[in-house]
């Protein structure tokens, strides 16, 4: 993608977040899409490209009454939406479509009409070589590399707990966050054990919700009411569907490749970044994200977060909506990370960062299985 050639001109979440038993998963997509189109000042008839995960673009397009020229059903977990943004940019630049709607909706808490992203059967490789050992989904697989990471880097359980404490400080500034009360390292460490060494507050929330983005060519931004958010750089990769086969338990290959490509495309230095979102399904994800993206050297992310550098008032604001740990997490959280980056660049976030001109939004899919990075900027960064 040519830097600055594409812009996000519509962005919205579902009207409600949290427990939404009154809406099916498909209607969560629609609620987000309607809000997103209202935000962009357009209607269904203006959309000619649809991308989504969790539901098929066929279901979403038909339900919304859209007849698309282009669809993308990339479904690699919670970062799928980062990949949709990247793919939409390529499609628009190639003339395949003009106005792309990307939707997410997930009845993760209430399970109303839920379909979509699930593990495979007993004859798949994960089904044969991981499932027999009693895994219970993300809590037992996403967490598995961390003891090795601790041993290799010297990172402590107190530093892990500080990720929760730090993000709760941001959530306390956000009226839409699920958990807003401040917490402490002691409280986090003494909470109920889920999968040693991870306690409950170190595992993400399970909620309902959705979000939508509208993506167009940058030369059209004057036609839309919101201040435009430009794409500066994009990247994606995948590694393995099995956590046991992740090449290095202290570092994600997919994180490194996705972020390196995004930074190269954006042509920026880390020191120019004003705001960072790192998909935090569990509290160790920001360590891997900061290190694999190059904000911290290997092993330095734990102390960096514990010293308050990513908290409100710190030099590098991270997960300013409260993150998957405190804001919300429906199952495929990447959409909410993208929404917060858009809000920060627009200057409309609940916990707005001063002079946020460049935001790095980094997603994970599956359990370190996939990754997508989107770097956004204001008009001034072009």
């Amino acid at each position: 993608m040519k830097r600055g050639s594409i812009a996000i001109v519509g962005a919205a979440e579902t009207t409600e977040l949290g427990r939404i038993p009154g809406l099916s998963q498909l209607q969560l997509h629609a609620d987000a899409a309607l809000n997103g189109m209202r935000d962009a000042g357009i209607s269904m008839a203006d959309i000619d490209g649809v991308a989504c995960a969790g539901e098929s673009p066929t279901s979403v397009a038909h339900y919304l009454g859209i007849q698309p020229n282009w669809v993308d059903s990339t479904s690699v977990g919670g970062c799928s939406f980062m990949l949709h943004v990247r793919h939409a940019a390529a499609a628009i630049n190639d003339g395949l479509c003009n106005t792309v709607l990307i939707t997410h909706g997930e009845s993760g808490r209430s399970n109303v009409g839920r379909s979509g992203f699930r593990g495979g059967g007993a004859a798949t490789l994960p089904g044969q070589f991981e499932a027999p050992f009693g895994g219970m989904g993300p809590t037992t697989s996403f967490t598995l590399p961390f003891l090795r990471y601790m041993k290799e880097t010297g990172t402590t359980l107190e530093q892990l707990a500080m990720v929760v404490v730090s993000q709760r400080r941001w959530a306390g500034l956000n009226p839409r966050a699920t958990l807003q009360e401040p917490t402490t390292v002691d409280e986090v460490m003494n909470d109920r054990m889920i999968a040693y060494p991870f306690t409950k507050p170190e595992c993400c929330l399970v909620t309902d919700g959705g979000g939508a983005l509208i993506v167009v060519a940058a030369d059209r931004v004057a036609d839309f009411p919101q201040s435009p958010v430009y794409l500066l750089g994009t990247g994606e990769s995948v590694e393995t569907p099995m956590i046991s086969q992740m090449a290095d338990f202290t570092s994600s290959r997919a994180f490194k490749i996705a972020s390196a490509n995004a930074f190269a495309e954006a042509g920026i230095q880390h020191s120019e970044v004003d705001h960072v979102m790192i998909y935090d399904a569990f509290a160790h994800l920001p360590f891997y994200g900061l290190e694999d993206m190059g904000f911290c050297k290997p092993g330095e992310a734990g102390p960096y977060i514990a010293e308050g550098n990513t908290s409100p008032g710190g030099e590098l604001p991270v997960n300013t909506n409260g993150g998957g740990l405190s804001y919300m997490h429906s199952g495929m959280y990447g959409m909410y990370a993208l929404q917060e980056s858009v809000r920060q660049i627009r200057g409309s976030a609940a916990a707005q960062v001063d002079a946020a001109d460049i935001s790095v939004c980094h997603g994970v899919g599956g359990m370190f299985a996939a990754s997508g990075t989107i770097i956004m900027g204001t008009q001034e960064t072009l």
Partner: protein, 139 residues
């Protein structure tokens, strides 16, 4: 009591048949590339390093070290109380998921890099799973 019928049991495919026949016979079978000498897992009829299809199945030593683990505290009908889910590094190089058994399921008994030995357990008529226990334990 733990109900082994609640385990999610593997269903072999043509490419993995040798592995699951091996566990039934008390053997941990890996594959090795005869072209570049890479030893790899999980099974496939070609080398993931050099793409050669000139590969062989061999029986591994069963020796391994503890690479990483968690202790699951949420109840699972096939397990009694908290249980470890681990990734072990086999002596031959590849890593695999397993449970560490025949030792208390506590961090002080599960030390990273501790030596382990494979032990097979029949969990149904048709399936034996490869577990690992501290090296030197009586089976």
């Amino acid at each position: 009591m733990a109900d082994l019928s609640k385990l999610s049991l593997p269903v072999a495919t043509p490419e993995t048949q040798h592995f699951w026949e091996g566990t039934q016979e008390g053997e941990l079978r890996l594959q090795k590339c005869l072209s570049c000498s890479d030893t790899y897992f999980p099974p496939r009829p070609f080398c993931p390093t050099c793409s050669s299809q000139d590969v062989e199945v061999f029986t591994a030593s069963g020796r391994a070290t503890l690479y990483s683990y968690i202790i699951n505290h949420r109840p699972h009908p096939a397990f009694d109380g908290p249980y470890s889910i681990a990734v072990v590094e086999l002596e031959e190089g590849p890593r695999m998921m397993t449970n560490i058994i025949n030792t208390p399921q506590q961090p002080e008994n599960l030390l990273l890099d501790m030596p382990l030995q494979v032990v097979f357990r029949k969990v149904s008529e048709a399936v034996a799973l490869p577990y690992f226990q501290p090296a030197g334990s009586a089976i």
